[in-house]
Subunit: 332 residues, 2 copies
DNA sequence: CGGCACAATGCTCACATTGAGCATAAGTGA
DNA sequence: TCACTTATGCTCAATGTGAGCATTGTGCCG
């Protein structure tokens, strides 16, 4: 293992090997039953303008990475970030587009949840439905149409190898991530699916950054994003889908009072699946996640619903409250 | 939000704000029913020699952070890393001891699992039981003795505030993390517990790095580590304890064949709790995690046990196989 | 050699959780 | 008033889960 000298050298003078470090944020909101991420306009290197996630330099004046990010985003968006979580630190491979000139380049990605969608301040920034970038992830209307095309191309990709062993491995991965060949769809494997598509060459960002290489139309494989930002988005979605099952983070996306159905729609939007209504309510009720207010909805179609609010106390009570969501079998 | 110019500046010339980036690894093995982490000797800044985690500079020649880490560790330890996962990227606050001279300093921490414990190559490196650093985390022999002292001091810390609101908050946190005041112990909250102790001043590393400040004896609060490495270790343990519940990662720590009881001992070592033997076997069986070999143990006391091996196929079959471990109520 | 201690294994049982569906209530719009 | 839509209450069967009893092999000790 590392010698004492090695270690010392590292800890005390790592500055001999400085790197460019940036922050990227996936800022998520949910309105009208759609999951949205904040995107900005970015000058692509050669491919003209495209959309990307808000990103910025590491601001040195802050004590903690997270607090730095929080301040940075809140200053720019004038929105309070309800929940912030570090996602992942991406290294060079993914940061295509700036060939490191002897320098490493890293970006530390964060996930943030915001409650309200303001007009998004700056003109270049806007909220986009995240399934526009990853259409195969939305199973709320049943099996996404995008998958028909994708599956065919993935199977072709698996078949194009002559080495039977590698071919077997590819097929296994297809089963594991996309549920082909008898596998089951697991809504949390968002990143694995994205990376598989990337390897299979179905992601335009994969083919160098020259705009000319956009042979892949964005229909089935979704709209592209600048740099590796779609990978970051996929990471965020996967993480969030896992998190809502054991932590009450969805409430960070809800207004102060809401109906159980709105809550359900939000959870469904994030997870990309449909839930059994009655069971969802039972779950929320027995976990004690919400308390009733005396308000009810009005004006909408159907019987008026009681308005509820999040019970902040549960953060202290239950060891790990959240939704154990099992998708219903029936489509929609 | 970020303007297009901002974004561009960041992505293309973040080098205007370079940072010192290092890697830290928590390399875990389990032998003789004890969880161990690889530690090295480190020259503390003023506190003389102490132990720390293996750390090194970011090696630029590798395509991916993870692959870089893998190569780095494997070269140094001559051990194959079975499983590698990025843990967290720690920023300045935690990296005490090198006051950044205008530079940011980050360390990207990784968790790695190894199967066998070799003599640890270099003399300065050795495998240490991780509960030596976090004694309050080991509940296998019942409630850890260290907790009596710790709890008293934590309660005193909560009581020393005059502001009733802050005091309430502190008590809530004690309930949440340490299960005081009627809360339950959650074995995954390792990091939260460490950070609470840190804030309460029970962690010697907290009081600047001068050796003189070591007023806190290491009995109840565990042995100190260099830099913020105990925080990194706590992060790793918490993550691993969560992971084994839904992913079959424990097997990365096991020899090629083993008995179910050895497996149980390993899981217990990691989670720091005891499990109900029969139920554990039932779980492993019905999840199809292992398959029998024709070997049996011999020589040991008690009826010989069948040797089993991990069924690699489960990685493909079940959506998320792992142990849902619920601790038994009875002590040991 | 019989008895013991100690694990390994098999099996039962009460109870909680969960997936699904039926039925009824209470609004809106035609 | 009817048709439609959503809210909400309740039941039921299947499965999962925590605990504990019973039995079976082995090495060890008089």
């Amino acid at each position: 293992m590392t010698t004492a000298q090695d270690t010392q050298r590292t800890e005390e003078s790592a500055l001999s090997n400085p790197s460019a470090v940036g922050l990227v944020a996936v800022i998520v909101a949910a309105t009208d039953g759609e999951p949205r991420a904040l995107t900005v306009e970015v000058d692509g290197q050669a491919s003209g303008r495209s959309r990307g996630l808000p990103a910025g330099p590491l601001v040195p004046e802050h004590p903690t990475l997270e607090r730095g990010l929080r301040a940075w985003v809140e200053r720019q968006t004038h929105q309070r970030l309800g929940y912030v979580e570090q996602l992942y630190t991406f290294g060079d491979r993914d940061r295509q587009g700036d060939e490191s000139q002897g320098l490493h380049s890293l970006s530390v990605a964060y996930l943030a949840l915001v409650r309200e969608v303001r007009p998004a301040g700056l003109a270049e920034a806007s909220w986009r439905n995240w399934y526009g970038y990853l259409p195969w992830e939305d199973w709320r209307e049943g099996r996404p149409a995008a998958l028909t095309d994708i599956e065919a191309r993935l199977l072709a990709w698996a078949a194009e190898t002559t080495d039977p062993k590698q071919r077997r491995r590819r097929e296994d991965r297809l089963a594991l991530t996309f549920g082909l060949c008898g596998g089951a769809w697991n809504e949390e494997r968002v990143l694995e699916r994205y990376e598989l598509l990337f390897e299979a060459g179905l992601i335009p960002e994969a083919q160098g950054q020259s705009g000319a290489a956009s042979t892949t139309e964005s229909g089935a494989t979704g709209a592209p994003m600048a740099f590796d930002h779609r990978r970051v988005l996929a990471t965020a979605i996967g993480r969030l889908r896992g998190k809502i099952k054991y932590r009450p983070v969805v409430f960070e996306l809800m207004p102060p009072t809401f109906t159980l159905f709105q809550l359900q729609r939000t959870v469904e939007a994030l997870s990309g699946t449909n839930l059994h209504k009655q069971n969802f309510r039972r779950l929320v009720a027995q976990q004690g996640l919400v308390e009733e207010t005396d308000g009810v909805t009005s004006g909408a179609t159907g019987r008026p619903a009681r308005l509820v609010r999040f019970r902040r106390e549960v953060l202290l009570e239950r060891p790990a409250p959240g939704f154990r969501l099992r998708a219903t079998r029936k489509p929609a």
